[in-house]
Symmetry: C4
Subunit: 346 residues, 4 copies
C-alpha cells in the first residue's frame, strides 16, 4: 500500500528501465544540491499552534489571477514518454483531476495540442531556442493552445552534467520520448532539437519580449534576491525559486535556503513560487511559512506517472495535498494566510 | 540484566506482537520528530558542580498542590491491553509502587473505576469527544473516580499518520485493547469510539469549561510560548510541553527545544510539564535545568508493562528516579531547586 | 609496528581479558561524554605558523615548582594489576623513563612504598575515605613516601555506572587487582574498601584540611569556572579539568570544552591541568593553546602497560611527547609559552 | 568512461602499486585535515546568477605578469617516477598541452633540464637544503633552466607523519622515483637527499635572499593572515594557501577555511594562490569567490599521470577547466573578475 510519496518513488524506480531511471533520478555531478534540497526541509522544525479553532483548513489561494484549490502545482519536467505510453497527456489528465495547474515543458514528448486538450489550467514552460525564428512559433502555439502563463526557464545557460548518463555513453532519447512538440513547432528534426535547439542563457530583454504576449511571465530558476528584482523589473509577473531539481549547477544553494532572500526582494509585489525537495505536506507548510506563494513538484509527479499513469499522477498530488490539509489541522492554521514565518523555528 | 531503559526497550519490543510493536514504537510519517526528541537531549551537555556538600539529594517537589517524591510522572498512553492482560490496572499498580502520579488515558482499555482503584494519585487525560453530550459523563466519571487533575490533550486535532500500520492495512484494535472506558462512559460502541469518537481540535473555551469542574486543568501538547499564554489565560493550572511522542505532527520541534519558550511565557505562573525523549536520569536533570517542573514518560512505562506488568512499570520508573538521584549526586545539586539553567551548556 | 596511540589501543584491547577490557575501556552509561572528550579535539583546527625560526622546540615547563621536560603527565587510574603482573610498579618505572610525573591512585593494586620506589617524581591521588580515622594514615603514608603533590578527586560523590560490568553481574576484582594499598593503610579488608571505603562527596573544608599537609593540593574533576574559584579559595594549588574519562556523569561536558571557562576563572593564579581525550600530540597542543598548563593521559598509559609493561608505558608517553615536539615544529612554536589561543580556530 | 576527477582517482589508485598508492593518497596521521580540505568545499553553497548575458566565459587572468588561459595550475608534487616511466617530463608535457603552469618540485625524479624542455611556463618549487652551500646551485639551476617563479615551501619544518608507510616499515624510494634532480644539483647521493637533504624551517631572511634572484617568490604553506603579511614584507610576490595536501600538520585548518584571513591581510597587494581539496569546477569557483587568484591541483594531476601519462595529465586539467567554464555559465559570470564574494553563501 502506498501511503507516502516515498512509497511511490520506490515502486516507480523499480518499474523504470535504466534510461528512465537515470533521467528521472539523476542529479548533476555529485548530487550535493539535490540532497540538500531535501535536507533543507528535513532540517526545519515546525512550531505548531494548538487551541486554534476547529475550522476545516482552507488550502485555496489565488495565483496569477486564478483561484487554486490548493497551492501545489506540477513543475515542468520533460519527456514523459520515457515513463508512460500516454506521456504528458496522462500527466495532464492526472493533474486536472487533482486540481493542480500543470506546467507543460517545451520538451514535451506529446504535441502541445494533445496535452492542452487533456489538461485543466496549464502553463507553458519555455526553453528559449537559440535562433529567434524558432521562438515566435513556439510561444504563439502555446498562447493559441490556451496556456495561462509562460514559464521562462532561466537556469539552462548550458546543460547540467548528469554523469551516470555520460558514463554510459548514452546520447539522445527513444522515439517515445522525442521532443516532438518542439520539433513540430520549430520545423527542426527531432534529433536536432535534442542537442542544440534550446539551450542557452536568457536575459532581461527576453523576459520583456515574452511579457509582450500578454500572458503572465514566470521566471524560473531564480536563487537570489537581486536576480528576482531584475526579473520583476523586466516584466516578470512571478518568479520561481528553483535549482532545476539539482540537475544544473551542482553546489547551488537548496531552493528552500534561497527562498527568504527572494521573498525579501520581491515577495511584496509578485508571487514567489518554489520547487525542489518537496516530499511531504509539512514541506509545503514550511515553504509557505518562509514566504512561498505556491510550490511545484517534479519528480513525485513522474513517480505517479510511471506507476499508474494519469491515476498515479492524480494520486500523488492528492496525497500531497491531503498531507498539507492534515498538517494544517495539526499546526492549527485555518488557511494559507495563517501560515506565517513564526511557524518555523528560525 | 536490565540496567538501563534501553535494556527494557529491547526486551519489550522483542516480546510484543507486531501490532503492539507498531502501536508503541511507531512515530508519525518519517519519524523526524521522534528522533529529534531523543537527540535534543543527547546534544545537551551538563556542567556538574563539585565541592558541593554531601547531602543526599532531595528529589521531591510540590506539583499542583501535592507533594511528589520525585518529578517523574506517567504520561498518558492508551490501550495498555495490547501489552499486558491487566492493561492499565497493572500500569496503575506499578506507578503507585514507584510513587509516580499516573495519567490515565481516555482510551484506557480497562474501566476507569478499576484503574482508579489500583492507582495512587492519578490524573485523567481527556480526549474531548466531538459531541458535547459525550463530554459531560466522561469528565464527571473521572472527577467521581478521584482524578486529581484533568489533562486536556490539545494536539489531536486530527489523528497523526503512523504509516507502518497504514501500510499493513490494519484498522481497529483487538478486544483486549478496546477503548472500553470511553465506550462505557459515552454509550458508544467500542468500534465507533476507535475511529470517530474523540478526535478534534480543542479551544480556549474548552479549557475554561473544563476548569469549571474545580480540578486543575493541564493543557497538554503545547509547543509555543504564545499558546501557553492563551492556555493559562483560559484557566489552565499547568501546561505540558509535548509533541505526542512524535506521533502527531512529524516535523514538529522537539519537546526539549520548545521548553524554554514556554517557560519564558508562563513558567513564573504555572508548572510547566514536559514529555518526549526522556530515557535517562540526566535527561530529567536537563529538562528541569531548562525550566520543566516535572517530566512525563510514555514509551518506557509501556516497555516495563510489556516485560513484567506492574512490577515492570515500577522497575522502570524506579530506575529512572534512581538515575536522577545518581546524577544529582554527581552534579552536586542537593534538591530540585538547585537544578538551575547554568547547569546545562547554552 | 605501533606508530600511533591507536595502534597501542588495538593491540592492548586484544590482549586483555574481558574484565580488564571492561574496566579500561568502558564509559558510564551511553558513553556520550567519553566520545565527546575525543570529538572535542577532533573538531578543533589549528592555524600553524610558518616563517617562524628554526629552534628545536623546548617542551619544558615548570609545574608546581618542579621543572618538567614536557607537559604530559600520567593521570590517575586504578588497579593496574588487571593489566600487568607488576601493576603500578611497572607503570611508575615506565613513567620515570619517559620523564613523566605519575599520579598514583589511592586504589593502587601495589603497595605505595613499592610504587614510590620505582617512580620518578609522583603525585598521590586521593579518594577521601568516608570515615575520618581512615584519612590521616592514608595521606600521611603518601607524604612519607615522597609524594610531591596531593590530587584530590572531587567527582566521585558516587560511583559512575559502567553498565557492561553491571550487565555481566560482575562485582569486585581479582586478587591481582585488589586495592591492597588502601586496605593496608586503612586497616580495612580488601573487599570492604572496594565497595564502601572511599566514595563520597568532598567539600572545600576537605581541600583546606588537605592543604595543611604542606604539599600542593590539586583538585581534580573541575568542569566549571565557579568551582575552580572555590577550589582555589579553599587552598588548592592547582585544578585539574576532568570528567573522569567519561566514567562518572555521562552527559557531562567534554574536558576540552570546559577548559576555557576554568582558565578564565583561575588560570592567572594557578596551573590548570586537563585530562580526557588526549590521543595525539596535536591534542596536547590544542589543550595548551586553550590554556591548559599540562595534560594528563589515562587510558593510553594503560594500553602501553597491557602490551609491554614498563617499556610499553614509556613508549606510549615518549610517542605522545615526540608527536608534541613534531607538531610544535610544524606549528612554528619554539616553546610552550608560544602556544597561544590564536593557534586554534575559535 | 572518465567523466569526473573521481573517475580518474578510482582508476589511478587501482593501477598503482602499494608504495605509489601510499605516497599519493596518504595524509598525515588521522587524515583530519585532508578530509576537511575536501569537506570545506562540499559545505559551501553557490548562489548562481541568471539573466546574466550570454557571453562565453573568459577564464583568463594575469598571474605574476603572465596571462593565463585559466586559473588552474599544477601544484608541486614529488617523485612522479613512482607513477609513470617518464615521470615529471610527462607531467610537464601534459600541463603544457592544458595551458597550465607547472610547479616543478625540488624532489623531481627527472633532471630539471629535461622537465623544463618539456614544459610550457613553469615555476620551481624549492625545498631549502639545510646547508647553504647546497642552496645556491639549486636555485641557480632553476633560474638558468627558465623557471618563471620560485615557490618556497614553508611548511616542511619537519616531515609529516604518514603512518601507513611507517607501519609498513618502508624507507626510501625505488630508483625510478629517486630525487635525481636534487642529488645532481647538490652533489649529494640520492639516498642522502631523501632523508636529510632538504627538510627544515625557513624564515623571512630566506624569502629575502631568494627574492634576490630577481624572480617572483611565492611562499607556499601559509594558513594565517599574519604569516602572509610577514611573507610579503620579506619580499614575497605571492603567497600560496596550503596545508601540503593534509600531509604535514594533521589537524591544520582546511585550505579553503584559511583563505579569507589571508586574503584580508595581503589580497590587495599580491596574488593569493590556494591548493588543497579542489576536485570540481565549482570548487575552483568557490575558491575564487573567496578571494583566491588561482588554484593549484596536486593529487588529480597524479591520477592523470598514473592512468595515461602526459595525455592523462592534460585530460584531467582540461576536465577541471571545462567544468569551471561550465559552472561559470551556470552561475552567470562572464569572467573571473565577476566571481565575487556574494556568489557563495556566507
Amino acid at each position: 500500500m502506498r501511503v507516502s510519496l516515498q512509497d511511490w518513488a520506490v515502486e516507480a524506480l523499480d518499474r523504470m528501465d535504466e534510461q528512465a531511471r537515470d533521467y528521472v533520478a539523476e542529479p548533476a555531478m555529485d548530487g550535493r544540491t539535490l540532497a540538500d534540497n531535501e535536507a533543507a526541509f528535513a532540517r526545519r522544525r515546525v512550531r505548531p499552534h494548538v487551541l486554534a479553532g476547529d475550522a476545516d483548513p482552507d488550502t485555496s489561494r489565488t495565483v496569477l489571477g486564478r483561484n487554486w484549490v490548493h497551492p501545489v502545482f506540477v513543475a515542468p519536467t520533460a519527456r514523459h514518454g520515457l515513463l508512460h505510453a500516454d506521456g504528458e497527456v496522462a500527466t495532464a489528465r492526472g493533474a486536472r483531476r487533482a486540481d493542480a495547474t500543470m506546467t507543460v515543458s517545451t520538451s514535451s514528448s506529446r504535441p502541445l495540442g494533445d496535452v492542452a486538450s487533456a489538461a485543466g489550467p496549464w502553463w507553458f514552460q519555455l526553453y528559449l531556442p537559440r535562433e529567434h525564428r524558432h521562438r515566435e512559433p513556439l510561444v504563439a502555439a502555446a498562447v493559441e493552445a490556451g496556456a495561462e502563463a509562460l514559464v521562462l526557464t532561466a537556469d539552462l545557460a548550458t546543460r547540467g552534467r548528469r554523469e551516470a548518463a555520460l558514463r554510459r555513453g548514452r546520447t539522445g532519447f527513444p522515439t517515445a520520448a522525442a521532443a516532438v512538440n518542439l520539433a513540430a513547432l520549430t520545423g527542426l528534426e527531432v534529433d536536432q532539437v535534442d542537442e542544440v535547439g534550446h539551450v542557452g542563457p536568457v536575459g532581461p530583454d527576453d523576459v520583456a519580449w515574452l511579457a509582450g504576449y500578454g500572458l503572465p511571465v514566470v521566471v524560473k530558476g531564480i536563487l537570489r534576491g537581486d536576480d528576482a528584482r531584475r526579473a520583476v523589473d523586466a516584466g516578470a509577473a512571478a518568479v520561481q525559486v528553483s535549482n532545476h531539481g539539482g540537475r544544473q549547477l551542482d553546489g547551488a544553494i537548496a531552493s528552500l535556503d534561497a527562498l527568504e532572500d527572494v521573498v525579501a526582494a520581491v515577495g511584496a509585489e509578485v508571487p514567489v513560487l518554489l520547487d525542489g525537495g518537496i516530499r511531504r505536506g509539512v514541506d509545503v507548510l514550511v515553504a509557505l511559512a518562509l514566504g512561498a506563494t505556491a510550490v511545484g513538484v517534479g519528480r513525485p509527479v513522474l513517480w505517479g506517472l510511471a506507476v499508474d499513469g494519469a491515476d498515479g499522477v492524480a494520486a500523488v498530488l492528492d496525497l500531497l495535498v491531503d498531507e498539507l490539509d492534515h498538517v494544517m489541522r495539526l499546526a492549527g492554521v485555518p488557511d494559507l494566510s495563517g501560515i506565517g514565518r513564526d511557524l518555523v523555528v528560525p
